[in-house]
């Protein structure tokens, strides 16, 4: 008997605090599997800013820095400039990256910092109890859009991957999902590609991963995956948004 699936070494053994069915757990495992497969666990430094996934520093078996809300790309810049040979990644939610941290993510991409950002988009602020995020869909109900989000005056959902793809410093940008086993393996390929391009020093790499929040959406985990497919993918189309130019 050969073990084909087990806990990756880059994941600690501690149970996570995430809600049942929250896909953060899947995404954590994919990042950890990629780090294992690339054999860089001892060379990697992660940055976890405020959000449900701030406690990622208890789950990734690598050097980690906890960052202020929205500032992970800046913290990662500081780390990477000091250790250019090490692999640096940020793991951020949509409130963190697309709201308070918009300037930081735009400029880390514009500067072409050689770091990787894992952007988990679940259209809501999870940790604080389900408030509207910049990625909340039109008509989506949340604790701060009780009647459903309206473009005026609450603004349109922000397509971060497409936005960042306009920046020349960004080398690789892809949006993926984890709503079924096939998509999970596609997501893993994209994450691996992002880390590989960082290691090759090509530039800033970014993977947006559509994710669920059963607790704050008010659906079961299974229903949440279906809601993601039916509602999020039309607004946030999957696919590679930027490949490194063949320099």
């Amino acid at each position: 008997m050969k073990t084909v699936y087990d806990r990756p070494e880059t994941l600690t053994s501690s149970k996570t605090h995430y809600c049942p069915g929250c896909t953060h757990g899947i995404i954590h495992r994919l990042v950890a599997e990629v780090i294992d497969e690339l054999g860089v666990r001892e060379e990697t430094i992660g940055v976890s800013p405020v959000g449900c996934s701030v406690l990622a520093y208890n789950y990734f078996n690598v050097d980690m820095q906890q960052a202020a809300h929205g500032r992970a790309p800046a913290v990662a810049t500081g780390i990477k400039r000091v250790h250019p040979q090490k692999i640096v990644f940020t793991y951020q939610g949509d409130g963190d990256l697309a709201a308070i941290g918009t300037a930081e993510i735009v400029h880390v991409a514009a500067r072409g910092e050689k770091i990787t950002t894992i952007f988990v988009n679940n259209t809501i602020y999870g940790m604080t109890g389900g408030q509207m995020a910049p990625t909340t869909l039109l008509n989506q109900v949340s604790m701060t859009s009780p009647e459903g989000r309206t473009a005026i005056p609450q603004g349109y959902p922000i397509r971060v991957s497409e936005m960042l793809a306009t920046l020349q410093g960004a080398a690789y940008i892809a949006r993926v999902s984890v709503h079924n086993p096939q998509e999970v393996s596609k997501a893993k390929k994209a994450i691996k590609k992002a880390f590989e391009l960082q290691m090759a020093g090509i530039g800033f790499t970014f993977v947006e991963i559509l994710s669920t929040c059963p607790t704050n959406w008010g659906y079961t985990p299974k229903e949440s995956l279906k809601w993601l497919v039916d509602n999020m993918i039309p607004v946030y189309p999957l696919g590679v948004k930027k490949m490194p130019e063949e320099r």
């Binding site: 699936y5 809600c19 049942p20 069915g21 899947i26």
Partner: protein, 71 residues
Amino acid sequence: MLKVEFDEDRCKGCELCVEACPKHIISMADRLNAMGFYPAIVINQEECISCGFCARMCPDVVITVRKEENK
């Protein structure tokens, strides 16, 4: 050695694995685990094809999958 093994005390009963299994052999136990969830279990191991889809969808690293070495 089991082809697919569930660490019941890590399971939060989210049932994502149930949906993912192509052979539909995963079900939820009728007893509670230490965290107060009904854990996922596999009754007949023989039907498992070690595809690992369940483990891919599990957010809590509950599932270990093994494959017979083709002699």
